[in-house]
Amino acid sequence: MARTYDYLFKLLLIGDSGVGKTCVLFRFSDDSFNNSFISTIGIDFKIRTIDLDGKKIKLQIWDTAGQERFRTITTAYYRGAMGIMLVYDITNEKSFENIKNWIRNIEEHASQDVERMIIGNKCDMEDRRVVSRDRGQQLSIEYGTKFMETSAKLNHNIEEAFYTLARDIKGKMERGQGQTVGVGGTTGRYQQDSTIAAQGNNLCKNRHTFHCDFIAF
C-alpha cells in the first residue's frame, strides 16, 4: 500500500457566527461557493491533501459553530491543533472585536506554539466594509500572526491562506521547534503523528511511515 501522506496537520477555524468559516472551508475543500449555506451545529470536518515543496500534507480541518465559543466542546477541540485560523467578517465590527476574545480562548486552551493566522473574510463586499485592512494588519502585528483578507465568494486568497498556514507549520516542524506541538494533550494517534513528524529524525520518520501505511490506510 502506498504511503498517502508525509505529514498530517490538524487545523481549526474559529470566529463568530456568520463570518464565513464554513464557506472558506468549503471553497478550499470543494472549490465551490453558494450563498445559501447552513449554519454549523457542533463540529464539522473536512480533509484535503496538498502538495507542499514535494511533501504530501494531509490537512484535517475542523470547523465549529461560532456560537459554540466557551461551550460544549471547547477545550478538547483545541488540543492537538497545530494551526488555527481566526476569521472575522470585514463588514462586521463586532466579529473583528471578538478576535481578541478568541485569541484569549486559544491561549487558554490550545498548545503554546500553535500557528495562528488572522483572516478578514468577505473582502468582496468593499461597499459594506467597516473594518479597514490597516486595522486588521495592525491587530495581527500586535499578536504576531500572519494576516490575510479573503473572499470565499470570489475565491480570493483562500488557497494562499491555507498554504501559508501549512507552510509555517511545516517550517516550524522541520526546524525542530515543533516538538511540543500537541503536548498539551490531544486526540490519540494524532498526537503521535504530530510529535513523531515533529522530531524529524530518521528512526522516527520510518516509524511515521509505518504508522501511515498500516493504520491510516
Binding site: 500500500m1 498517502t4 457566527s17 456568520g18 468549503f26 470543494d30 465551490s32 453558494n34 445559501s36 449555506f37 447552513i38 449554519s39 454549523t40 451545529i41 457542533g42 463540529i43 464539522d44 470536518f45 480533509i47 494531509k58 484535517q60 459553530a65 461560532g66 456560537q67 459554540e68 466557551f70 461551550r71 460544549t72 466542546i73 471547547t74 477545550t75 478538547a76 477541540y77 488540543r79 503536548v183 498539551g184 494533550g185 490531544t186 486526540t187 490519540g188 494517534r189 494524532y190 498526537q191 498500516f214 493504520i215 491510516a216 490506510f217
Partner: protein, 562 residues
C-alpha cells in the same frame, strides 16, 4: 408537497373528529408510516405533544386559549415599535425616547439576539422553497425571539431554528391541503361543527402562534441538549486527554456518553473500531441530537422519523435507539474506513434507501421482543449513491468515503453500458428496480473488498507487533501471513474455490486468475442493453427475487474480525 388521495383526506379528518382514534392507535399510525402521505400529521403531532386533547370537541377552546397566550407573550417580548400590537403612545413609542419602557430601547437592546436569529433563519433549509419566503422567515424569527426572551436561561441557541423548521413545514403543508380540499368541495359531507373545528385548526392567521406552541413542547424535550456546558477542567491537564475524558457536566455530552456505552453493548466490534480510532459519539453526535437528525435525513424521511420519536415521550430513549440504528446501518462502511473515512460517513451521513426498514431497526432496538429486526437485505445501504441524483445538502459534494482515493479497478466495470434507445415509459419502473439491485450488488462488492482490506491490514499490523515483541513463533506468523495473503488474493479471484488447491496457488497463477474478468461466484453485472433484453425476453423476471440476495450476506459478515 405530500398529497393524499381525494377520499383519503375526508376519511382522515373524520377519524380524528369522530374520536375513533385513541392515543394507542395514533402511536401505531405513527410507527407504521401512516402519516407519510397524510394531511393530518400536524393534528397528530399536536395531540402527541399534548397541545391538543384527543377529544376533538375540546379543540377549539384549547387552541384559542393557546393563541391568546401567545399574543400576550409576543407583545411582551417582541418590541417591534412598528408592530400594531405595540404601545402606540407617541411619548413612548419613538426612536429617540430614552424611557426604559419605550419599545425602541428594548428594540435596540435586542439587536444582537435578532441578528443571531436572523443569521440562522436565513440559512434554514436552503433547498426548500417555503423557507425562502419572507413571511415564513419573519414568522420563524418572531417565534425564536419570543422563545428566547421567555426562556432567558436557555435563550436562543444555534440549531433551534432547524427544530422549528420542520414544525412550520408540517403546519403549512396541512393548512394548504385543508384549503385545497375545502375549495375542491371534498369536505361537503361534514357537518357544521366539524367544519368549524377544521377551520379554526387550520386558520393561517394563527400560523405563528401554532408554530410557537408546538415548538415549545418539542423544546421541552430538547432543552437539556441545548444547555451550556460547564466543563470542569481536570485539576492537572492530562497529556493524553481525549474528548471523551473531559469532565462532562453538560447533559448533552452525558447523553452522548451513554449512547456510546449502549453501542458497546449492542455492537462491540463497531464500538471497538470507533474507540480505537478515537471517534467518540461526542464528536459527531452533537448535531444529530440537537437537530433531532434533521441534517442526516431528507425532509420527508425526517418527518416520518419524528412521527416515531414524538410518539414515544420522553423522547430520549427512542432517540438513543435511532442514533444506534444509524450507526449499525452503516457499520460495514465504518468498519472498512479509516479515521477520515469514518468521520466523512458520520458527519455526512449517507442517504438511507428504505427509511421504513431503517425505522424498523430503531424500533427493534427500542423493544427487541415486540419489534422484529428487519432483514439485512432490506437494509442494504447504497452508501453515497443516490438514484434520484439528488444529494442532501449535508452530503455536499462528498464522493470520497475512505479518505484515500479508491483503487483504479473500481470504475472499470461500471462503464460497460453501450448506447441505447431511451426507455419507454412503461419500462422505467422495472428497469429502475433492476438498476437498484445492480447498485446494491456493486455496493456490496465494494463493501466486501473494503472490509477484507481493512481486516487484512489490521491483521498484518498485529503480526508485525508480534514479530517485534517476539511473542509468536516465526512459523505461526508465516502461516498467518499466508492466510492473510490468501484472503487478499481472494478479492480478485473466483470466489467459488472449494478445492484446497485453489486456495494456495503460486504467485504467477494468482496474477493470471486475477486478470480474468469473469467472476462466477457473484451475480453478473448487466449492461444496459442486456437489461433491456432481459426485460423484454423474460416477462417473469421480477426484482422481487433480487439478484443481490444471491450474494451470501454471511460471506460479507463472516470475515474474521479482531
Amino acid at each position: 408537497m405530500i398529497t393524499p388521495t381525494t377520499s383519503g383526506i375526508l376519511r382522515e379528518y373524520q377519524r380524528f373528529l369522530s374520536c375513533e382514534i385513541g392515543v394507542d392507535e395514533l402511536i401505531t399510525f405513527c410507527r407504521t408510516g401512516s402519516f407519510r402521505t397524510a394531511a393530518t400529521r400536524s393534528i397528530a403531532w399536536r395531540i402527541l405533544l399534548k397541545c391538543l386533547p384527543i377529544n376533538s370537541l375540546e379543540w377549539v377552546p384549547v387552541i384559542e386559549q393557546s393563541r391568546r397566550e401567545y399574543a400576550t407573550l409576543r407583545s411582551r417580548h417582541v418590541a417591534n415599535p412598528r408592530d400594531p400590537l405595540c404601545v402606540q403612545d407617541p411619548q413612548l413609542n419613538n426612536p429617540l425616547s430614552e424611557h426604559s419602557k419605550s419599545p425602541w430601547s428594548r428594540y435596540f437592546a435586542d439587536g444582537e439576539l435578532r441578528d443571531l436569529i436572523l443569521k440562522d433563519v436565513a440559512r434554514t433549509f436552503p433547498e426548500i422553497e417555503l423557507f425562502q419566503d419572507a413571511e415564513v422567515k419573519s414568522l420563524m424569527c418572531s417565534v425564536l425571539h419570543v422563545y428566547a426572551k421567555d426562556n432567558p436561561f436557555i435563550g436562543y441557541k444555534q440549531g433551534m431554528h432547524e427544530i422549528l423548521a420542520p414544525l412550520v413545514f408540517v403546519l403549512y403543508n396541512d393548512q394548504q391541503l385543508y384549503q385545497h380540499a375545502l375549495e375542491d368541495f371534498q369536505l361537503r359531507s361534514l357537518d357544521r361543527t366539524a367544519l368549524h373545528i377544521l377551520q379554526v385548526l387550520h386558520d393561517s392567521n394563527y400560523f405563528e402562534a401554532d408554530a410557537y406552541v408546538l415548538f415549545c413542547e418539542v423544546m421541552r424535550e430538547l432543552t437539556p441538549w441545548y444547555e451550556d456546558a460547564g466543563i470542569v477542567e481536570p485539576p492537572e491537564p492530562h497529556p493524553f486527554e481525549r474528548l471523551q475524558d473531559t469532565m462532562i457536566t453538560s447533559r448533552l455530552l452525558k447523553e452522548l456518553n451513554e449512547i456510546g456505552q449502549r453501542l458497546a453493548e449492542f455492537d462491540p466490534p463497531l464500538y471497538r473500531h470507533l474507540t480505537n480510532l478515537d471517534i467518540p459519539a461526542q464528536l459527531f453526535g452533537i448535531r444529530w441530537l440537537r437537530l433531532l437528525f434533521g441534517r442526516e435525513f431528507p425532509l420527508p424521511d425526517l418527518l416520518f422519523l419524528w412521527d416515531i420519536i414524538l410518539s414515544d415521550r420522553p423522547i430520549s430513549r427512542i432517540v438513543e435507539c435511532v442514533f444506534l440504528a444509524m450507526l449499525v446501518y452503516i457499520r460495514e462502511n465504518l468498519l472498512a474506513s479509516d479515521y477520515g473515512g469514518c468521520l466523512q460517513f458520520l458527519m455526512r451521513y449517507p442517504p438511507v434507501v428504505d427509511v421504513m426498514a431503517f425505522a424498523q431497526l430503531a424500533l427493534h432496538f427500542r423493544a427487541p421482543l415486540r419489534n422484529s429486526r428487519p432483514k439485512d437485505s432490506q437494509l442494504t445501504n447504497y452508501s453515497n449513491m443516490t438514484l434520484q441524483g439528488t444529494v442532501h445538502p449535508n452530503a455536499g459534494n462528498q464522493k470520497r468515503t475512505v479518505s484515500q482515493p479508491p483503487p483504479q479497478q473500481r470504475s472499470q466495470q461500471a462503464n460497460r453500458g453501450k448506447q441505447r434507445r431511451p426507455y419507454r415509459q412503461e419500462e422505467i419502473p422495472k428497469a429502475l428496480g433492476i438498476f437498484e439491485e445492480q447498485v446494491a450488488v456493486l455496493q456490496q462488492r465494494l463493501n466486501e473488498r473494503d472490509i477484507v482490506t481493512a481486516v487484512s491490514a489490521k491483521r498484518i499490523e498485529e503480526l508485525v507487533k508480534n514479530l517485534e515483541r517476539g511473542s509468536l513463533e516465526i512459523g505461526t506468523i508465516a502461516a498467518q501471513l499466508r492466510e492473510v495473503g490468501q484472503q487478499l488474493g481472494s478479492l480478485t479471484m473466483d470466489r467459488r474455490k472449494e478445492t484446497p488447491e485453489a486456495k494456495s496457488p503460486a504467485q504467477e497463477e494468482r496474477i493470471k486468475v486475477a486478470n480474468e474478468p469473469v467472476r462466477s461466484g457473484t451475480p453478473r453485472i448487466f449492461g444496459v442493453n442486456e437489461l433491456r433484453e432481459l426485460n423484454t425476453n423474460n416477462q417473469n423476471f421480477s426484482h422481487s427475487k433480487p439478484p443481490s440476495q444471491q450474494v451470501p450476506r454471511d460471506r460479507v459478515l463472516g470475515i474474521p474480525r479482531f
